[in-house]
């Protein structure tokens, strides 16, 4: 792998950039691999990378039906945080956070992980109770965070309306300084390049059309480019997981919903942290390019259309202007939708299945991007060892039958 | 009907009453209509509002007998009695809204119950929970276009129609009893929001409030 550095950049500039190598190869599929990863998004590519790097499993193929990093990796609002309520979720996301913190150097690819901090606002007394509960839990789990009052929030974000006149005044917030944003596309590309350097075959435009299963054991997949064999297959296909599971005769408690996001036109820096509000329902940060990156809500119906309903966008911008009245004259440039695969308890599935050798990693809902390295790291370990990694174990499919959910919905309160 | 507890929530005693908009008039005022007012808002408070539930066939006969109008059986139907002061509106295949002059509702409920005998129906008095707001004037329709998602074009919303629909961020029952007249049935707790919205959106038409 050609190492990237500032010095290298200068050297390449002097040779008119004619000597840059491909960031990843475009290999032809082999007949057989040790492990097949289905899904060339961030999670899938990272799983392949960690398999090769940490477990010495280098005969790995990543099968991507479109182009790598083209799903939710390319369509999210790039927020990275680990201040989840429940121990199991917190452990998973914090594991991920620690990997984020050295990721650019590990991959030799600047994923622009910007630890500018995330505020989760509270607008009601119950919001504040939930925030205190979560921050207290985070602290005892070793995750940074503090509870701010309205004044503390105002100091961090002077342009926000923190007055008592707001319809739902800001009462306070949780603040995780280590949280932030990262450059989403670079994450996929960085993992792809690093995995490729370890010998992983990234096969784009390769669609799985069926599984080869004998006596309850997987031994390969059918694809539009022919059959490929492997005794271990990990499905990391986000919104398309249900479709894949069905091919293998497996049921998943997943529903795929549209999740919309939008960006403003680029502006000079005006907001240097991430602000999220569940109550008025909008979240916002400003990208390094200057766009305000704004997350909208999940549409209630199932959809694979990569678009959602317009009122969702309207409600989101109402929330943003309510919080930031100065943005009223700023313009929305573009909106788009991702397909998020959601679980009933708002936590992912990292699990074995009834088919031996076939694993699923899905159901990330809105939490997928921030979990990328952590999810992949524990999933790779599970695939390599044939046993679920302890951090992954609570996220088994079984929980939907035993009732042992990890209910992150609960963290937000249900009825008031 | 001993199985159901009917209750006259109204009294003949001289008790001060407050319409759902009473607070709004004090807080937001009520601009007096003038010659330039292209739309006028009028509240008709303290009417009798009954929700009728049951099968259409069962209810129809009783309503005709007691109110002298036939139950609108088709969706979105709105009928008035000969005097034009009592109305029955289709809300759902098994639900109708009856609005009558204030004070008539309890007797009406009892007469309907008597006429319906042991049939499985329900009647709920909601007179305290909602108010009727009328919009009149040439700009009334455009003001509604700013407020409701439903198509209020005359070709789609003729006189004698009524629907439940989204009004800004709340819900109203919208009815068209006359060419230039529209009625909103508004829930009490949302009345102030609805009023403030109408004043705000109606500003460009010089909206006035008749009290």
């Amino acid at each position: 792998m050609q190492r990237y550095s500032g010095f290298g950049l200068v050297k390449h500039a002097l040779s008119h950039h004619e000597n840059w190598q491909r960031q990843w190869r475009n290999p032809t599929p082999k007949k057989q691999y040790d492990v097949i990863i289905i899904g060339g998004g961030g999670h899938g590519l990272a799983t392949a990378y960690y398999l090769a790097k940490e477990h010495g499993v280098k005969n790995v193929a990543v099968l991507e039906k479109g182009w790598l990093g083209g799903g939710n990796t390319a369509r999210n609002t790039t927020i990275v945080r680990s201040n989840y309520l429940w121990d199991e979720a917190a452990a998973l996301y914090e594991h991920s956070m620690k990997l984020w913190e050295g990721l650019s150097q590990d991959l030799n690819y600047n994923v622009m992980f910007s630890q500018r901090g995330v505020l989760n606002l509270g607008h009601t007394l119950q919001d504040m109770r939930d925030i205190q509960r979560r921050v207290n839990a985070n602290r005892l789990n070793g995750i940074d965070g503090e509870v701010l009052d309205a004044k503390g929030v105002q100091e961090l974000v002077p342009i926000m309306d923190c007055s008592k006149n707001a319809r739902y005044p800001v009462l306070g917030a949780s603040w995780q300084p280590r949280a932030g944003v990262a450059r989403h596309d670079a994450v996929a590309w960085g993992f792809a390049r690093a995995a490729d350097a370890h010998g992983v075959d990234i096969l784009q435009q390769t669609e799985v059309t069926g599984f080869k299963i004998r006596d309850g054991q997987i031994y390969g997949v059918h694809t539009n480019r022919g059959d490929i064999e492997a005794k271990t297959v990990g499905c990391v296909a986000a919104g398309n997981s249900g479709v894949l599971a069905k091919m293998a005769g497996i049921k998943l408690p997943l529903e795929s919903h549209p999740l919309q996001a939008l960006v403003s036109e680029p502006l000079k820096p005006v907001l240097d942290t991430v602000v999220m509000s569940n109550h008025v329902h909008g979240y916002i940060s400003q990208s390094d390019k200057g766009d305000l990156v704004i997350g909208a809500g999940i549409d209630g119906y199932n959809g694979y259309g990569q678009r959602g309903s317009y009122p969702t966008v309207e409600h989101t911008l109402q929330a943003i202007v309510e919080m930031f009245p100065i943005f009223s004259r700023v313009r929305m440039n573009r909106q788009w939708g991702g397909i998020v695969d959601t679980c009933p308890d708002a936590c992912p599935i990292l699990s074995k299945t009834q088919v031996k050798g076939l694993y699923f990693n899905c159901g990330w809902g809105t939490g997928g991007f921030k979990a990328t390295p952590g999810s992949a790291h524990v999933f790779a370990a599970s695939l390599a060892k044939g046993e679920m990694h302890p951090i992954a174990a609570p996220f088994s499919i079984d929980r939907f039958h035993t009732g042992a959910l990890v209910d992150e919905h609960g963290a937000a309160g249900v009825a008031h | 009907m001993s199985n159901v507890a009917t209750f006259d929530t109204r009294t003949e005693a001289k008790i001060p009453v407050e319409s759902p908009l009473a607070y709004s008039y004090r807080r937001s005022g009520a601009p007096v209509p003038d010659r330039k007012s292209r739309v006028v808002l009028r509240e008709h408070p303290f009417l009798g509002h009954l929700v009728l539930r049951g099968g259409a066939i069962v209810l129809d006969e009783a309503v005709r007998e007691v109110l002298g109008v036939s139950l609108p059986g088709e969706p979105q139907g709105l009928v008035h009695d000969a005097e034009g002061v009592r109305s029955v509106q289709w809300i759902s295949p098994d639900e109708w809204l009856v609005i009558v002059p204030g004070g008539e509702e309890f007797e009406l409920e009892n007469r309907l119950r008597a006429a319906l005998g042991g049939a499985h129906i329900a009647i709920s008095n909601v007179s305290g929970g909602q108010t009727l707001v009328e919009l009149e004037g040439e700009a009334a329709r455009e003001l509604l276009m700013k407020s409701v998602v439903y198509d209020v074009h005359p070709s789609h919303f003729p006189v004698g129609k009524g629907v439940t629909t989204v009004f800004a961020k709340t819900t109203v029952i919208l009815r068209r009893p006359g060419e230039e007249r529209w009625e909103l049935v508004v829930r009490r707790s949302f009345a102030d929001y609805t009023y403030r919205w109408l004043l705000d959106a109606g500003e460009e038409y010089g909206i006035g409030v008749e009290r």
Binding site: R133, H416 | E18, G129
Partner: protein, 1012 residues
């Protein structure tokens, strides 16, 4: 004031109406009818901005929505600032104040430009992915500087003085675009009687006809436009919306039209007779049929130096001359691949300025306009193109050379032609953006060298939008589309006679996107593809070399098409370059997906009136005015404003919440308090099966509740988790009144309907909301009975009106239902009256209550009082993961009910049946002065290293003035079996609180106080 490039006549501007404006602090003049861009060009302003990455000087390129460069900041005051206005779409108004968005210290002399010049070579696409990694600790510092150079305009720092609006529209046929196709379609649809909306983004309807060289019925095209518009305007089934951009095409023919109502009048909307006007308005249109008559955008050619000011689109040159009376230069070189481009040269020459040469990429051009140009003596250089523009702040020469199209190489020596303007045309791209919003991928059409829209149900395209460019054909296409749309919407087609348009013979165009240079692309001077994002042909080539092969990869790696113009000018050229580098065809490289908005829209317009006081409804009870007048602080509970506490002024000082709540609590425990409980949901349930239904949706039993009695009920979902609670009263054998939590009212009603309609329709029962009908006031405390007795002659004797009874009566002269239920643990009466009478009853109680110390209290006191009694608040002490067993409410679980009620089955699942689940308990702090933090986490072993095993958390915690101690409710693992044990609460400040697990009932465990 001079406008050096303004023609003395011609154009659609009004020379009698001069307008003053300033740009970068310099005063200029233009005319009514100008855009800011045309006025700047008229005044000879070359540099309008600096580019984003390399900070290169940039000028106006286009005349419409596709303009990438002329992005300015508008506004003379802070509140009126508008970032990122496209000068080509901003009508000039008197006093307009604009600035360039980039350039420091000025757009003319920009220091960053030096950086761009020197450093440009070090900033290939994706350079930031490859550097700034060492040392890791410096990244946040690097980032600070990267961010500083980002962005175009700036956000205002003050709130917007303007208002915005929505209008919900419905129509049979929506025609988008009022050029020849759109006008013809609208006429056809309108004459059939259909409800028609015609929207166009420009200041004037007419589109390309407004600057056309062609005659319609032997008259200038503008005449036909005027007649067509007049007819449409005269029909009451037609709505004309100029200045209105269709910015988003959503499912099932829902289209958002953004009308700029006053943006052409001033930076703040002027008032009309003292009334506010909206700055812009969003029409939310549901259309039966949609006709896309959005025309086409001209493609520029990609050659070296094509970003220097003075490089324009050929069509834009004509538009400025013919529509605005502005010639944006003196000496023109035209580089074209088609006949359409010749229009610029003909117009330029007619405007009296010099056409130096036409470089035509075709070996033997021979169309009608080519012949005209030839006949006028204009030099045509066949088989050639401008391969490089020279100049810094303005073009000063064009290098023209023969090119080999197939071999992608320069085929002869370049000739340098002195000029100040280069116009280029690479053909047209249909405007397919809206069709693409529906998710339908466009398809490449080789005949027109462009993508044409794929259309979903209910939409058609006409004219340029689908690659039909000859005026006569466009008009016919429009009529056809309009008639078809109307007839599909159920209207009989009407005839429309088309104007006569002289047919013009055009020669075939050739495919030319990037023009070759003598040097290979990576070494040639920069050839710009996306001007706004400084994406070059070399950048695209580099991306493909690095393995970015899908067009989506190329776009993301280079940022092509991510600007505010969304790649309207550059995307197709970029795809063509990627295709060339990869040795594939354009469609093989992949199609692009455009997303809403077509052009950016202010947040304000999308928000409409749903902001400030109207952001979200505030729900009030009938006593709200009284609460306000009595100084209540309010708590938001759902959309309700509930009194939180009533601070008094004592000795000139306003009580703190702590003081007020202590006073309110003691008043209830020692005298009498009153609470406005109207916000609780109330559902009237009638029918012979009402009782059976209650038994199925509640966890406890309802079979024996007699009329006149009240019972508490707990509701679960089928996963066994508690989701709401409340009391339900038996009004009659078949008649119940259910109460719900304040926030749960609508949810519970829908929940009941769901089960009734979808599972148990055979049960004869109806549910109606009566929440708003009744106002509810609770008087509670030892003196409650005496107080009530003063205003009613009801029998309040404790034997005849028992705890958990309800009775009818007259209270303060008003018919009332009174419920003897208690959420405080004290003697309590909940009085329900019709809401219109409520204020009277409330005030009457106060008139009589003073001698008993009647004290109004709010939700905070209510919470303290109920917690002292161990009563839960659903949503505070439960969180969707708590079962009735977890709450210790065995008494409210009817395991032996005949019907397996909602939630029952789930309770026996392995995890829900565990005995060490988190269970509701009381916590007594070891130090009574401590009020534990709500949300504090509980541990058994405070010395355990982090991560520390947590066994529960505090759900409710207060100071109890009655106990003079802090106390709390909490959930603790296996807590019900751990009474008396000590738990620890390690806090953020390092303190570790100790508390004892106790019963959650802190006061009067036998319930004697409420039973008096």
């Amino acid at each position: 004031m001079s406008q050096p490039n303004r023609l003395t006549q011609g154009g659609r501007i009004d020379r009698r109406q001069p307008l003053s404006f300033t740009f970068n602090g310099q005063a200029y003049q233009g005319y009514a009818g100008d855009t800011l861009a045309s006025a700047l060009l008229a005044n000879g302003v070359d540099i309008v901005n600096r580019s984003f990455k390399y900070s290169r000087p940039r000028g106006v390129v286009a005349a419409g929505a596709e303009e990438p460069n002329a992005i300015v900041q508008l506004g003379s005051t802070e509140a009126a600032q508008v970032p990122n206005v496209r000068a080509t779409q901003q009508a000039l108004f008197d006093g307009l104040t604009a600035r360039s968005t980039n350039g420091w210290p000025s757009v003319q002399r920009d220091l960053m430009g030096l950086v761009g010049k020197l450093g440009g070579q070090f900033m290939p696409p994706g350079f930031y992915y490859k550097t700034f990694m060492a040392p890791a600790s410096l990244w946040m510092t690097y980032e600070k500087y990267i961010r500083k150079s980002a962005g175009l305009g700036r956000s205002p720092a003050e709130a917007d003085p303007d208002i915005y609006d929505h209008l919900h529209r419905h129509c049979d046929v929506l025609v988008i675009g009022a050029g020849p196709a759109g006008l013809a379609a609208a006429l056809a649809a309108a004459r059939s009687g259909a409800r028609v909306i015609l929207a166009d983004e420009q200041e004037e309807l007419g589109g390309s006809l407004l600057d056309s060289r062609e005659l319609l019925d032997d008259e200038p095209a503008g005449e036909w436009v005027a007649a067509a518009v007049a007819e449409l305007a005269g029909r009451d089934n037609v709505t004309l919306l100029p200045r209105t951009t269709a910015n988003g095409y959503h499912d099932h023919n829902f289209v958002t039209l953004h009308e700029r109502c006053t943006e052409h009048l001033g930076e703040v909307a002027p008032r009309v007779t003292g009334r506010r006007q909206v700055r812009s308005r969003m029409h939310r249109v549901r259309a039966g049929r949609v006709v896309l008559a959005t025309g086409a955008h001209e493609r520029p050619l990609v050659y070296a130096g094509n970003d220097v000011p003075g490089n324009l689109l050929a069509g834009a040159v004509s538009t400025y001359i013919r529509r605005y009376g502005v010639v944006p230069g003196h000496k023109l070189v035209l580089s074209t691949s088609n006949d359409h481009g010749y229009r610029a040269a003909l117009d330029w020459q007619e405007a009296g300025r010099e056409v130096v040469a036409i470089a035509d990429a075709r070996p033997s051009p021979d169309g009608e306009w080519v012949e005209q140009a030839r006949a006028r003596g204009i030099r045509i250089i066949p088989g050639s193109a401008v391969i490089e523009a020279r100049g810094e702040s303005r073009v000063n020469a064009a290098r023209v050379a023969k090119i080999d199209l197939d071999g992608f190489r320069v085929a002869g020596a370049a000739e340098t032609l002195t000029c100040d303007t280069i116009a280029s045309s690479g053909g047209y791209s249909p405007v397919i953006h809206l069709a693409s919003h529906t998710g339908a991928r466009p398809t490449w059409n080789d005949d027109i060298l462009g993508f044409v829209p794929t259309l979903v149900k209910g939409v058609s395209a006409a004219g340029g939008a689908q690659g039909v460019y000859a005026t006569a054909e466009v008009l016919a296409d429009g009529v056809e589309a309009g008639s078809r749309a109307a007839s599909e919407a159920g209207f009989a087609a009407a005839s429309v006679s088309l104007p006569q348009v002289a047919a013009r013979r055009d020669g075939a165009a050739v495919a030319l996107y990037q023009v070759p240079h003598e040097k290979p692309t990576l070494r040639a001077p920069k050839q710009f593809v996306d001007l706004q994002n400084d994406v070059t042909a070399a950048g695209i080539e580099l991306a493909t070399r690095e393995g970015f092969e899908s067009i989506e990869h190329v776009k993301r790696y280079t940022a092509m098409g991510f600007g505010t113009d969304q790649g309207k000018l550059g995307n197709i050229n970029g795809m063509a370059i990627a295709a060339r580098c990869l040795g594939r065809s354009i469609p093989e490289v992949g199609t692009t997906v455009f997303r809403p908005n077509y052009t950016p829209v202010t947040f304000g317009a999308i928000v409409g009136r749903h902001c400030r006081e109207l952001f979200d409804p505030e729900r009030y009870t009938a006593m709200h005015q009284w609460h306000v007048e009595h100084g209540a602080e309010f708590e938001d509970v759902g959309q309700w404003k509930r009194p939180w506490y009533f601070p008094k002024t004592v000795n000139g000082k306003i009580e703190t919440m702590h003081e007020a709540v202590a006073r309110e609590c003691l008043a209830v425990r020692e005298a009498v308090g009153i609470l406005d409980a109207s916000t609780l949901g109330k559902i009237d349930i009638q029918g012979p099966d009402a009782r059976e239904f209650l038994g199925r949706v509640y966890t406890n039993k309802w079979a024996k509740l007699a009329p006149g009695r009240v019972r508490y009920g707990l509701m679960c979902k089928d996963d066994g988790m508690v989701f709401d609670d409340g009391t339900t009263s038996c009004l009659g054998e078949n008649h119940f009144l259910m109460t719900t939590t304040t926030g749960g009212a609508a949810t519970v009603l829908e929940w009941l309907e769901l089960w009734h309609q979808t599972e148990w329709p055979e049960l004869e029962v109806y549910f109606n909301s009566v929440t708003d009908h009744w106002a509810t006031m609770t008087i509670t405390g030892p003196e409650a009975r005496k107080l009530l007795a003063e205003v009613t002659d009801m029998d309040l004797d404790k034997e005849s009106f028992k705890f958990m009874d309800w009775r009818e009566g007259v209270v303060a002269g008003v018919p009332a239902r009174v419920f003897r239920i208690s959420f405080t643990g004290e003697l309590a009466f909940e009085i329900n009256v019709q809401a219109n009478y409520a204020l009277h009853v409330w005030e009457t109680l106060f008139a009589h209550g003073e001698k008993y110390g009647l004290t109004p209290y709010g939700t905070e006191t209510m919470h303290v009082l109920r917690a002292e009694k161990g009563f839960i608040i659903a949503g505070q002490d439960t969180d969707g993961s708590v079962t009735p067993e977890d709450l210790g409410m065995h008494w409210a679980i009817g395991y032996d009910k005949p019907f397996s009620w909602i939630g029952q089955r789930a309770l026996s699942r392995p995890d829900t049946a565990r005995t060490d689940r988190k269970q509701l308990v009381g916590l007594k702090p070891k130090d009574p002065k401590v009020v534990l933090e709500e949300g504090a986490q509980i541990v058994f072993d405070p010395k355990h290293a982090i991560p520390m095993p947590m066994v529960g958390h505090v759900t409710s915690s207060y100071y109890s003035p009655t106990l003079d101690s802090g106390f709390a409710l909490a959930v603790v693992k296996g807590g019900q079996q751990k009474m008396g044990e000590t738990v620890y609460l390690p806090m953020a400040d390092g303190q570790v609180h100790e508390a004892e697990i106790v019963s959650p009932i802190f006061l009067d465990p036998k319930g004697e106080r409420q039973n008096v």
